[in-house]
């Protein structure tokens, strides 16, 4: 599925893998949308969550907190999280805050 508006968060689904597009700015508004959707998929039994950061330029602290919430939920339900297409700054930020210890970077 191709997202119609890449500036906003969007979602894709195939078998047990769910792909969520983080959009260009991961903040409270877009983050809560992603968190809501991820939690629904995890509760439905999704075993692999892919967060696509290819369009993401900025991630603020609230965005980080929301990603940590998603990671925590996934770990509790035994699901795997993959962060894909991260830019260098985001990788540095995630490494610094420890997110990379809980997810696979692709």
């Amino acid at each position: 599925m191709i997202a119609e508006n890449l500036s906003e968060s969007s979602f894709e689904n195939s078998s047990n893998t769910f792909v969520v597009h983080a959009g260009d700015y991961l903040n409270k508004l877009s983050g809560e949308k992603i968190e809501r959707e991820c939690k629904i998929r995890l509760e439905q039994g999704c075993k692999e969550l892919v967060v696509d950061f290819s369009q993401t330029e900025i991630i603020n602290s609230i965005g980080i907190s929301i990603l940590l919430g998603v990671i925590d939920s996934a770990e509790n339900l035994g699901a795997k999280i993959i962060f894909s297409d991260l830019n260098a700054e985001s990788i540095e930020l995630f490494e610094m805050l420890g997110l990379t210890k809980h997810v696979t970077i692709a």
């Binding site: 603020n60 602290s61 907190s65 940590l68 990671i71 610094m96 805050l97």
Partner: protein, 428 residues
């Protein structure tokens, strides 16, 4: 070193955002939720919660939680020893693993351990516990560094101030509601006292029984027709109820004289407005001008009234209202020396004297209220209750009232007489 600097920049960014969030005064719950996000996101904390302290219940009640699960208590009680220690500790983060000596950490040890709560931050603002922050492990798995604890302390201060402000607002709202209730009770007591007083005034005059109460009601009708606010309408009614309070000092035989009283008796009776003012002036009324209404309710726009012969604009507005109400009641009730006049005759009298004795806009408002009731536009039958149905529904009243209202001049032409003819300016 570079990573430390990047961490600091990221954390300070979150601290700045938190300051803005608290200052913006959004929905309080949302502010607390966002604050928890900002702390977690600033330092990469997996889970946590923010609680508000109830000093009455001695308990911490959760306002926002992230990842603490359903079995984490939403209300955690503190004993006096805990409170004392937290107050001494201030905003410094406490490591839960090192604080098991305190009853609080013994009681909730299992909950903290199962959700890996590593830090507890008492929110102490102005020497008072207002809440607490619970923070789980960091995503890195490392322990909290001293600089991270300082950042948590700084962010905790922001959140603590937000909680303290909210508590203060809640306390002000509670006290305001209590004061409003007390004021309402006081006002009801005052109004009941005024009505009882009006009944007492009327008891002295067997021929005009109920006069003060009716004048109060007519004054209320006029004020309501002028679209005054609730308190002002109540004030007008009160002024009407108490306008004749000065008659309490006039001899009963003069008040009850079944004939036209002589000059001497008239002079005695005419003192009642000034006496009424003297009685009412020292009382702290919830409405203004009540004493003035008593003093000047016999003044006329054309300056031929008493006690001071004031002209139009010199007469307090409330006194003009009570004057109209008083005169209307005098015309529409039986007196020992005079039977009540018929309704059309009274309407004609009001029109004829508008601009001389009565303020024209008040006559207009009064007659408009009467017309609305007779024609069925007003649900409340105030006039009918005071004057009787038959009296109010005299044949030809509706066309007469419409014609009179059409012919009424909006304001008095005498407004400036005192200044231009009197020469000595307004008298007060």
């Amino acid at each position: 070193m570079i990573e430390e600097r990047t961490k600091l920049v990221h954390a300070f960014g979150a601290l700045a955002e938190l300051g803005q969030e608290v200052a913006n005064r959004h929905n309080f719950q949302e502010t607390i939720r966002t604050s928890l996000h900002l702390i977690s996101g600033a330092l990469g904390i997996m889970r946590g919660g923010v609680a508000r302290y109830s000093r009455y219940g001695h308990e911490l009640n959760m306002l926002a939680v992230r990842g603490l699960g359903d079995d984490f208590p939403l209300s955690l009680s503190l004993c006096l020893e805990d409170e004392r220690q937290f107050l001494t500790n201030g905003l410094n983060p406490i490591e839960t693993s090192h604080a098991r000596v305190l009853p609080f950490f013994q009681v909730y040890d299992r909950s903290f351990e199962s959700r890996r709560i590593e830090l507890f931050v008492p929110l102490v603002i102005r020497d008072e516990i207002v809440g607490a922050i619970f923070l789980g492990e960091k995503a890195t798995g490392e322990t909290y560094s001293s600089y991270e604890k300082e950042i948590i302390c700084a962010m905790g201060r922001h959140i603590g101030v937000a909680v303290a402000q909210r508590n203060l607002m809640a306390e002000i709202e509670r006290q305001t509601a209590e004061n409003r209730k007390l004021f309402d009770d006081l006002r009801t007591t005052y109004n009941d006292t005024v009505k009882a007083f009006a009944a007492a005034i009327d008891c002295k005059d067997k021929y005009t029984e109920g006069h003060s109460v009716r004048v109060g009601r007519y004054s209320e009708i006029i004020a309501a027709e002028l679209e005054w606010g609730t308190a002002e309408v109540e004030g007008a009614a009160t002024a009407g109820y108490l306008h004749d309070v000065g008659k309490l000092t006039v001899e009963r035989k003069i008040i009850n004289a079944p004939y036209r009283i002589n000059a001497k008796e008239s002079a005695e009776l005419n003192k009642h407005p000034a006496v009424g003012y003297e009685i009412l002036q020292p009382i702290h009324h919830p409405y203004t001008d009540v004493p003035l209404a008593a003093k000047y309710h016999h003044e006329r726009l054309d300056g031929r009234g008493y006690p001071d012969g004031l002209y139009d604009r010199e007469i307090p507005y409330i006194a003009k209202i009570v004057n109209l109400a008083d005169s209307f009641d005098a015309m529409t009730t039986d007196r020992p020396y005079k039977a009540r006049r018929q309704a059309p005759d009274v309407v004609e009298d009001l029109k004829r004297n508008a601009g001389k004795q009565f303020a024209p806009e008040l006559v207009t408002a009064f007659l408009r209220g009467m017309l609305r009731e007779i024609s069925g536009d007003a649900k409340d039958k105030k006039f009918r209750r005071l004057l009787g149905r038959e009296y109010m529904e005299t044949e030809g009243m509706v066309p007469l009232l419409r014609k009179t209202l059409n012919e009424m001049k909006p304001t008095s032409s005498l407004t400036y007489i005192a200044a231009s003819v009197g020469g000595d300016g307004p008298r007060h």
